[in-house]
């Protein structure tokens, strides 16, 4: 229960923080994917059931706060969780290089799915797809180790813990 409350609080804070943070104009105004990074961190540590619950909750909140259709997070977040859960026992989750790699891949997945969705629904001009994808990869890779190291140091989400 304690972990559940902590994660809920973390989710709310990261949603508010991600909204307040300025975008990176060089990368098509993309914002640091705080929720995506938190998702990777949680999927590395919590049991599959809790990770999936967090994934769905964060995806619904994320997409609800976007003006466009549901989809970018609702499709991207489960892919990230699935891949993290699938390979987490083969990876060293506490290592900075692993975090850098996983953060970059997560950012790329979020960017690619959003691009695909906006391409299909024709709701966004996609004149700078390349910079968005590269931006997602780089910002994700940069953010993941920082967030993961901070959370590891604070010990807010314990390894193999449960949130319910």
């Amino acid at each position: 229960m304690k972990t559940f409350l902590r994660i809920t609080l973390l989710l709310i804070v990261s949603v508010l923080l991600q909204q307040a943070l300025p975008g990176w104009p060089i990368f098509n105004n993309l914002k640091p994917p705080l929720i995506g990074a938190l998702l990777v961190h949680i999927a590395f540590r919590l049991p599959a059931r809790s990770a999936w619950q967090f994934t769905l909750a964060s995806a619904v909140i994320y997409d609800s706060l976007e003006p466009g259709p549901y989809g970018p997070a609702l499709l991207a977040f489960p892919i990230i969780t699935y891949l993290t859960l699938r390979f987490r026992h083969d990876l060293f989750g506490n290592g900075v290089i692993t975090q850098l790699f996983c953060g970059g891949i997560a950012g790329l997945i979020i960017g690619s799915v959003a691009t695909g969705m906006y391409l299909v629904t024709n709701t966004r001009p996609l004149d700078s797809i390349f910079s968005s994808l590269i931006g997602g990869l780089l910002i994700g890779a940069l953010l993941q180790p920082i967030l993961s190291q901070l959370l590891q140091k604070s010990d807010w989400i314990s390894q193999e813990g449960s949130w319910s």
Binding site: Q19, A20, P25, I26, L30, L65, E66, P69, P72, P125
Partner: protein
């Protein structure tokens, strides 16, 4: 037994996602619920950042009450809107003295609103505002700051409203060069690499001579007339280009108003809703 239950959970999850993706009513209800639920947290966050900014101002010797700032902003918006309106009326009056009659533009009501958050991903140029009074806000209403047009209301939720900023590529509004009979459509072009909002006025008559620095205002000829009145300042002409087709001109505009987290904005309302 366990795997059967897991399979059902998986099916239920997929069904839930599919419903949210394809059923517009579920999308609407879902978004309204989440936005309403998160609005109090956003308001707290917004108050925190405002207080933080106020402390910063006080420390620098520029401290002032937020309410006073809001009141002054409202007065400034009204004065500027009135000035624009009077300028247009003056020109109109000269012409109408020779013509049939006169139609006075209806003054509009302004609802103050607080910016509580920005877009979450950066794909959209939007803000979320919370009206300071109980007056209703309508979709497609103009949103102003003391500097001019900020955007339009995209979506209204029970506790907040989404505002599409002028620089968003989905934003379009009928505009004119202030004081002249030159019309066009103002469209958002996103942000430049330096982070400045980019706005363009398109479909300008190719024979019109436009000077750099001329003021661009709304022409009020949109479908939602009344909520998007004429004479609202948008920006100034920065550069004029001939379109590739050669059929019209387009002009780069420097928008003066930008919506930030610390800004007070005003939503234009119907004349009947004037307090």
């Amino acid at each position: 037994m366990k795997s059967k239950r897991q399979r059902w959970k998986l099916i239920a999850g997929f069904a839930g996602i599919t419903i949210l993706l394809v059923w517009p009513q579920a999308t609407y209800i879902g978004k309204q619920s989440i936005r309403t639920g998160i609005a109090p947290a956003e308001e707290i966050g917004s108050r925190f950042s405002r207080s933080f900014s106020e402390w910063g101002k006080a420390l620098r010797g520029l401290g002032g009450a937020a309410e006073r700032e809001q009141q002054l902003s409202l007065e400034l918006v009204r004065a500027q809107a009135e000035l624009n309106r009077l300028r247009d009326i003056e020109i109109e009056n000269q012409r109408l003295l020779r013509a049939l009659g006169f139609q006075q533009a209806t003054p509009y009501a302004l609802t103050p609103a607080t910016v509580i958050s920005r877009n979450i991903s950066g794909w959209w140029n939007t803000l979320r505002i919370q009206p300071n009074s109980k007056k209703s806000i309508h979709t497609d209403s103009a949103v102003l700051s003391p500097d001019g047009l900020v955007g339009r209301v995209l979506d209204v939720n029970p506790l907040s409203a989404e505002v599409l900023l002028v620089c968003d590529p989905a934003f379009r509004v009928a505009a004119r060069i202030s004081g002249r009979e030159i019309f066009g459509v103002v469209r958002g072009m996103g942000n430049s690499i330096s982070g400045q909002p980019r706005v363009r006025m398109e479909f300008i008559n190719k024979d019109s001579v436009i000077q750099i620095g001329e003021e661009v205002t709304t022409s009020g000829s949109t479908r939602s007339e009344g909520f998007f009145p004429p004479g609202i300042h948008i920006g100034y002409i920065k550069q004029v280009h001939r379109d590739e087709s050669g059929l019209y001109q387009y002009a780069e505009i420097v928008p003066r108003a930008t919506g930030g987290l610390l800004d007070y904005l005003f939503v234009v309302g119907n004349a009947e809703e004037t307090p």
